[in-house]
């Protein structure tokens, strides 16, 4: 088969480009340590969230020095708990699940963004620094009231943080 020289050059450049892309992603995953949401959150019976001690009472818990876990339920059309309060300068792992349909969990203005699927638990770890308020929104269509589904993540100064604050309501 007769392949023109220009074609060959183009082919080589294309392959280099592709390999370059793959390398940057692999670099991001290994060297920079950007982890993808994966299957480690485990599964759950979505019709019986109230029998699960994490999700029957959505809340934030301290699990170690500067380490917190947030159990969040995304349902039509609210997030629980709301607001989610965590102390500044800590590592927070969110466990999010849904009792009804698919939802999205997006902390606006950050790259904390994942799908919530009934039956599955989404596990997502983030670092929080300065005290600040973030909006949370659902970015997967979940029914007629989808556009009203929002919440808040409040990063409070470490000395003002109290556990249990976030499930007042």
């Amino acid at each position: 088969m007769n392949i023109h020289n220009y074609e060959k050059i183009w082919l080589v450049l294309s392959m280099l480009l592709i390999i370059g892309f793959i390398s940057t992603v692999v670099y991001g995953a290994t060297a920079v340590g950007i982890e993808m949401v994966n299957d480690e959150g485990g599964t759950i019976d979505s019709t019986a969230l109230d029998e699960d001690d994490r999700f029957s009472e959505p809340r934030v818990e301290k699990v170690g020095e500067d380490e917190y876990e947030a159990y969040v339920v995304a349902r039509q059309f609210i997030f629980e708990p709301n607001p989610i309060e965590v102390p500044a300068n800590s590592t927070v792992t969110f466990y999010v699940t849904s009792p009804d349909v698919l939802h999205g969990f997006e902390v606006v203005g950050t790259n904390a963004n994942a799908m919530v699927v009934p039956g599955e638990i989404t596990e997502l770890t983030v670092e929080v620094n300065e005290p600040k308020e973030y909006g949370i929104l659902c970015n997967e269509y979940c029914g007629g009231g989808h556009h009203t589904m929002e919440g808040k993540l409040i990063v409070v100064p470490e000395d003002e943080f109290e556990l249990g604050d976030s499930n007042d309501e």
Binding site: M1, N2, I3, H4, Y6, E7, W10, L11, S14, M15, L17, I18, F21, I22, V25, G28, A29, V32, M36, V37, N38, G41, I44, S46, T47, A48, Q76, D100, V101, L102, G104, E106, V108, G109, N111, N113, A114, M115, V117, P118, G119, E120, I121, E123, E133, Y134, G135, L137, C138, N139, E140, Y141, C142, G143, G144, G145, H146, H147, E150, K152
Partner: protein, 590 residues
């Protein structure tokens, strides 16, 4: 176009009148879907930007479902089967084996579409319990009316039969021409349909084995991650199913219109074989941020996706080289000076070139989507519609419209009603999409979600790193309006063409490639081999993830109940709508 030239050659209609009728019918179905879809698109563009809200926000999702289904299922695929019927019959130079069979699959596709559309539009009629506000992705456990799933199934069966029709023609031709190479257009049609057979395995299982019986109440639980994964098993390759008609036109029609010849036939075949092999084992890249799927599977999908760039990059080269060749044939000279020798006043040519230009931009934003880690930033934001309105919404849609300006006279023996309107139409589309898609991309980077009737929240505001959100909203709305106008110009132009006088001898033969198939290895044409490898690759990419999903959640799910998408009866939808319309008009015209 050659109408003025009267080349003397017979048109497709002259040679194959029965087939031309089917092609016209399929194209008309496609244009009706496009026009309706554009109405819904305009409503969305105005509603979500808060420029003009004619409907209740709960109805926004009915509109969005209709827009998605009409555009990416009906418009694109009806055009595809019309175009492929033309390309098959033209390139094998023989009529279909049974015109009744051909009408049968077309009829099935129409019936399927009508069922699905009735189910969707039922969402506007509170008196019925028919509704399907599930968007075109219909993720369970949201449940649509069985009519919706049934319609989809019948539509897909129609496309399978269409593929069988093309294969039938090919086999009949091969029996009479045992030693000949498959003609290029036929080859493209066949590889695309083989890819479609592989791809639709996913959606067929999702709909027929799970969603349809579940919506009929045969069982009441479902594994949502399983049906979602099966959806994307189909949902990525369908992207190439939309794109392949545009590629076929770029490879085989564009060079002729440009006055030249395709650079290389074998390279075109290589590209289509690559698509057959690679387009399915990548769907998990739509699920980068899903729970329940291990990171390894996501990485494999990501790697495959990146390699899938290759055929498109090769296409970019071939198309530009062929067009340049055309320009030089027309007397163009210089490093870039040849550009001006091209037939820019021909809407068919200019439309396809503008589509290609936007595809380059869309390819760029697509590479960003494909990077797993950057995906966190843009997943499910309006960036994503910004991206695919460049690809399917322009590279495909604009190419199909532009090609119609060339193809339609071949199917009707009539001149186009107006070439200048055609030229203005493609330019308006380009400008409109430039605005709408630009605004969508930027808004997406600010975190504004897609599929949302009112992206305005009580507890927080989006922070624009430059300009302002309201300015972007305005830009999106203006762009959407231009797109709507452009669509209407297109459909009207084609409709009015029916009133122009009949001509004869306006056929336009396609030019031969510069480098022909004769000097390429025979193995390229071994479709069985490629189909087999494609199946193996799919098994490799999907067996483990699917097994793991079923292992985790069971075939019928870890206790997930159906959530029928019956919108709370919106008290008399019509009246408030009219009221709002009156108010809106009143505020413009005091």
């Amino acid at each position: 176009m050659s109408e003025q030239l009267e080349s003397g050659a017979p048109t497709f209609l002259d040679k194959f009148p029965d087939e031309a009728a089917v092609v016209r019918a399929a194209l008309w179905s496609s244009f009706i879907a496009l026009a309706l879809g554009a109405v819904f698109g305009l409503i969305q563009a105005l509603h979500r930007t808060d420029v003009l809200r004619l409907i209740d926000s709960t109805d926004y999702y009915t509109v969005l479902t209709a827009h998605g289904v009409l555009m990416v299922v009906s418009f694109t695929i009806f055009f595809l089967v019309g175009l492929f019927t033309w390309a098959t019959v033209r390139s094998f130079d023989r009529g279909v084996e049974s015109i009744r069979y051909t009408w049968t699959w077309y009829g099935l596709m129409v019936a399927g579409t009508l069922m699905a559309v009735v189910a969707i539009l039922g969402g506007f009629v509170p008196q019925t319990d028919i509704s399907a506000d599930v968007l075109f992705t219909f993720y369970a456990p949201m449940q649509a009316h069985p009519l919706f799933y049934g319609g989809l199934a019948i539509f897909v069966i129609g496309t399978w039969l269409a593929g069988a029709d093309y294969i039938w023609t090919w086999r009949a031709w091969a029996a009479e021409n045992p030693d000949e190479r498959i003609p290029l257009q036929g080859f493209m049609v066949l590889t695309t349909m083989l890819m479609w057979y592989v791809a639709t395995i996913g959606i067929a299982i999702a709909v027929v084995a799970f969603l349809l019986p579940w919506s009929l109440g045969l069982f009441d639980q479902i594994n949502p991650l399983l049906t979602r994964t099966l959806f994307w098993f189909w949902g990525h390759p369908v992207v190439y199913f939309w794109l392949m008609p545009a590629y076929l036109l770029w490879y085989t029609v564009l060079p002729t219109i440009a006055g030249g010849r395709l650079f290389s036939d074998p390279l075109g075949r290589v590209v289509f074989v690559l698509f057959l092999l690679l387009s399915t084992p990548v769907g998990i890249h739509h699920q980068y941020v899903d729970p329940g799927i291990a990171e390894g599977f996501k990485t494999i999908a990501m790697t495959n996706t990146m390699f899938l760039l290759l055929p498109s990059l090769l296409t970019a080269f071939t198309v530009v080289a062929s067009v340049e060749h055309g320009a030089r044939q027309r007397g163009g000279t210089g490093l870039l000076g040849w550009l001006r020798a091209l037939p820019w006043r021909n809407p068919a040519f200019t439309g396809m070139m503008l589509a290609g230009l936007m595809f380059a931009a869309g390819g760029f934003s697509g590479m960003i989507n494909a990077g797993m880690n950057i995906n966190y930033l843009v997943h499910n934001t309006i960036w994503v519609p910004g991206h695919f309105h460049l690809t399917v919404g322009t590279a495909v849609a604009l190419t199909l419209m532009a090609a119609t300006y060339w193809l339609w006279p071949q199917l009707t023996n009539r001149r186009l009603y107006s070439r200048p309107i055609g030229l203005a139409q493609v330019v308006i589309w380009f400008v409109g999409m430039g605005l709408m898609s630009n605004a969508m991309h930027v808004q997406g980077l600010f975190g504004i979600p897609r599929r949302t009737a009112e992206p305005q929240y009580e507890g927080f505001d989006f922070v624009a790193s430059f300009g302002s959100v309201s300015e972007l909203n305005l830009q999106l709305a203006i762009g959407g309006t231009l797109l709507f106008i452009s669509t209407m110009l297109f459909v009207t132009n084609i409709a009015l063409s029916a009133g122009t006088p009949k001509l004869s001898g306006i056929g336009q033969p396609l030019s031969e490639p510069l480098s022909t198939v004769d000097d390429s290895p025979e193995i390229l044409d071994n479709l069985k081999l490629w189909f087999g490898i494609a199946l193996v690759l799919v098994v490799l990419a999907y067996a483990l993830p699917l097994a793991s999903i079923i292992d985790r959640g069971g075939l019928l799910g870890p206790g997930v109940d159906p959530v029928p998408m019956i919108v709370e009866p919106v008290a008399a939808t019509i009246e408030p709508t009219l009221g709002r319309l009156a108010a809106a008009v009143g505020s413009v015209v005091p």
